[in-house]
């Protein structure tokens, strides 16, 4: 069953009405073509109106959509010959992060990303895309390999956050994320990060240090979930909608704040409406990024990476 988001209900209602009229025309002698054409025009306007004016909370819903394409969906569309490699060599293999090598336009690249599940069963297997320390350590192991063999790294970000669990704390969730931040800073190959769904706090950041950071139009990137922010700031998780606005978490907000490089367009109604088109949109931006980054010498690359992050933040002198 397709998941319908609250703000999409008028569209769905109108679509049902049109389908009903079409069925009626086929079954009976009455010609309703004119009515149908009018309604279809109205539908187009309605869709443009709704999808063209998405509010932050709508985008949060979109980023969390059950059918939203995941890392593996995009890998399938954008790369060839992907081989997934497993394990951190220290503790285990974390299914919430996928990692491996593939060909991109004929050249080898390392691809890493958070991996959500789509159904309940897969989500349990993937721990809902919320990694443990071994996930970050696996990714780092592969990123170091990428550096050794001079392959660019492409990182897909899509997580509610690093898993808040007992075992994760025991095995050093903080240390694992911190180390990825530090080590990614020094990798001498290009890193392109693309936020495809939810960019949840430190858990997202653990795969998110790069030379270029892009976001799909309806993805989010935030220090805390809107629900968490509402509970923390106003002691009421019901105020999530308000928090989604206040916390400035949409791709447009992040572009304005100078955190990301580019917003990647989504098909009308969201990425899940047309995975191929979405992958194509990602592909264009990725191609451009890699072209720009590949020509840089490694010390130049690292210096630029530092400059990029150095300027993030606002302060004044008094």
């Amino acid at each position: 069953m397709k998941q319908v988001l609250d703000f999409e209900k008028p569209i769905v209602n109108l679509k049902e009405k049109i389908a009903e009229l079409k069925g009626f025309t086929e079954d009976s002698e009455m010609d309703l073509t004119e009515e149908i054409t009018t309604l279809e025009k109205r539908l187009e306007i309605l869709e443009d109106d709704i999808y063209g004016n998405l509010q932050p909370w709508d985008r949060v819903q979109m980023a969390r959509h059950q059918e939203r394409p995941t890392t593996l969906d995009y890998i399938e569309e954008i790369f060839t010959d992907f081989i997934e490699f497993h394990g951190d060599r220290l503790y285990g293999d974390d299914a919430a992060i996928v990692s491996g090598i593939a060909l991109y336009q004929g050249n080898p690249v390392t691809v890493i990303g958070h991996q959500r599940g789509k159904g309940t069963k897969e989500n349990i297997h993937r721990n809902f895309g919320m990694p443990h320390p071994e996930g970050y350590r696996k990714a780092l192991r592969h990123m170091r390999q990428a550096e050794k063999f001079n392959r660019p790294i492409i990182s897909f970000i899509d997580t509610k956050g690093a898993y808040p669990g007992k075992a994760a704390e025991e095995r050093g969730q903080s240390e694992a994320i911190a180390h990825n931040l530090m080590e990614m800073a020094g990798l001498t190959v290009p890193i392109v990060c693309i936020v495809i769904g939810e960019g949840g706090s430190g858990g997202a950041l653990g795969l998110g240090v790069g030379d270029h950071i892009h976001m799909l139009e309806n993805s989010t990137y935030s220090v805390i979930s809107p629900e968490g922010a509402a509970a923390l700031l106003w002691k009421d998780s019901g105020l999530a909608k308000k928090a989604a606005e206040t916390m400035k978490i949409t791709s447009y907000d992040l572009k304005k704040l100078g955190v990301i490089d580019q917003i990647i367009d989504e098909p009308k109604g969201g990425a899940h409406r047309d995975v191929k088109l979405q992958a194509e949109n990602i592909n264009h931006v990725l191609e451009k990024s890699l072209k720009e980054l590949r020509v840089l010498q490694s010390d130049e690359l690292l210096e630029k990476r530092w400059e990029k992050y150095k300027q993030i933040g606002e302060y004044k002198e008094i």
Partner: protein
Amino acid sequence: MLKDFFGKKKKKYASIPSEQGKLEVPEGLMKKCSGCHKIYYRKEMQKNVNVCPNCDYHQSLTAWERIGSLFDEGTFEEWDKQLTTTNPLEFPGYEEKIEKDRIKTGLNEGVVTGKGSINGQPTAFSVMDASFRMGSMGSVMGEKIARAIENAKDESLPLIIFTASGGARMQEGVLSLMQMTKTSIAIKRFSEAGGLMISVMTHPTTGGVSASFASLGDYNFAEPGALIGFAGRRIIEQTIREKLPDDFQTAEFLLKHGQLDKVVHRHEVKSLLTTLLIMHGKGGETS
């Protein structure tokens, strides 16, 4: 996450305050230990660097109390004292909160950075102060710490960071989050240049601070009993639906799980740092 540290534990029994409990403690003169609740003269407690003489509980120190307890008199120089927030998200009420804490603490931000000498050993430092917005990290803190790291690199000084923070500062949203990256890259550059970085985690060190520079020292230490962790205890309990052990996310718990080099009593911190600074100095000629 932040509020976990301040949340009251639900008591399973009713308590009637004793006559003694009702006694007013004169503000400023006396101090109650947060561990055993015994009341002491503030001066007596201060002389003991806020470690309870009775139960050894390490009470929090302000940044300047900490600096005063470690650095040789007259040797320290403060950096970037004037940096303050601009309220980048235009978050309602944020500036008022900052102003209130500025008056309360006399600081412009929850971290004091600079350089000085410990027993004659020069070093750069960043000392966080949990009494300013719970030591949370926003743009200003990230910038001050990153600059301190860069300064240490440029002046070939070691760097000691004392952390005390509830994590990222909510009111600056994703800009706070990005300070984790900014500080971590700075440390990478410092480390590549051969710089010595020592992290001393004090109560509390959680969230974005524990998941960035606090964990990135060449040596990571913690004060006894300090709360250190990534996710808040209550969130974890809700997620896994089981009660966590009492010592969960304490310094001792981290030590047991291989996440720390050493738990160091506050009375021993200065001599440990001195020794390390000498051992990493050029031949230790100032020893």
